[in-house]
Subunit: 230 residues, 2 copies
Amino acid sequence: MSEAEKREYLKRTPVFRGLSDEELDEIVPLLIERKLRGNTVVFHEGDTASAFYLVKTGRVKIYKVSPDGREQVLAILSDGQIFGDVPTFDGGPYPATAETMDDTKIFLIPREDLLGVVRRHPEIAIKVIAVLGQRLRQALELVRDLSFKQVPHRLAGLLLKLADEYGEETEKGTLINLSLSRQELADIVGTSRETVTRELKKMERNQLLRIDRRYITITDREGLKRWARL
Amino acid sequence: MSEAEKREYLKRTPVFRGLSDEELDEIVPLLIERKLRGNTVVFHEGDTASAFYLVKTGRVKIYKVSPDGREQVLAILSDGQIFGDVPTFDGGPYPATAETMDDTKIFLIPREDLLGVVRRHPEIAIKVIAVLGQRLRQALELVRDLSFKQVPHRLAGLLLKLADEYGEETEKGTLINLSLSRQELADIVGTSRETVTRELKKMERNQLLRIDRRYITITDREGLKRWARL
DNA sequence: GAATCAGAGTGACGCAAATCACAGCCGCTC
DNA sequence: GAGCGGCTGTGATTTGCGTCACTCTGATTC
């Protein structure tokens, strides 16, 4: 990938957006490109931070694991999104595990290099604050959902969010263009595979959506919103 | 409160710690002191941020409310701790409600004033990042607990945390020197009042602690840790 | 086309914890 | 001291959902 392309890429990124070309030229040489197969762990929760990551192509999931192996997904990241930011800046361990979901291209910037850049351009710190604030809001929304909403509502809410982010309009309704297994849906919502199956069926029976294998088409968005109690 | 006292106070605060006296002198005049009775709402979730707060005396709880009035407490803050930071820096609405638990003295700094200070002293931004990182880790721990642990373990974990933060050693064990009602404990752990009662009794029966009204003394810390599956 | 295997659907069952419904129990004030 | 209102403790009941134990489906490989 050429320098110029990398620069263009950085401009689409939440932390480096809005920097001048000269500033970006300082960052570009720090980018290290990596290709990863699907289901590759980038780092484990608890590892000490060595780098800051950016997703180029493919999807990366960030999750916590319970002692008995259950997963709670915190975020699924794709093009232009960053991860491993918190530990890079505060020096602590990664608070969750990061794993690729498909074949993926990522960039990484070694921690020390990035800290140098931020020291030289403190205005980046303001952007970082914005990103962390965003993350924190997200995390608190998850807390609210886990604490107050029951599974069917959380699931419906997830589908609506996925439709917004990855939806594609068809004559039947909004097709969620993101191939997730029942287990993956369960890990996001915080429930079991079986319950996802059952609740999806229930929604289908209520004419809210249509299921075809892994593809879900939302046919009644308003109804689904009511179902989600949103 | 005198200027000098305010300066000393700021030095004990996570964001302003480590600043020079001259820098602090710039901040001191921005501090506005407020006395609040117990159970006073400082701001509601969703309000647009007008200021940044610091706790002087008393306790402030930060929490989310469900549509039917249940509360999930995110943090209980006391001397020297700050709140309302995220929205102050990213300009969004407050992500949760803040309410005093007793008669309280707080300081506030209007948003615009604080942003001015940070613009003039970008090194504060680094501190802010550290605080947000800390908050985010905390929030993710809460997610983990809600998602993976069941109520008895969460409750035991809370007691251990309270013992660390507010504990006082006695000959009987560690007395938790913080008067919380069953309902408040329930709101922190994310359960019901009745369940807290029952689970506390269960721990008392198992010789892990002693209950005297609102005062809990932990008599077997190791046992309690095992109970918490920590 | 048989064999294999991961993912998906389904029913039965059990259990943690919420909810409901009361009955004490302090600390108030009048 | 009677009455009152906010916290507690307690049993009975309900329920949401996880778990278990299968079967079924549709790819993939031989």
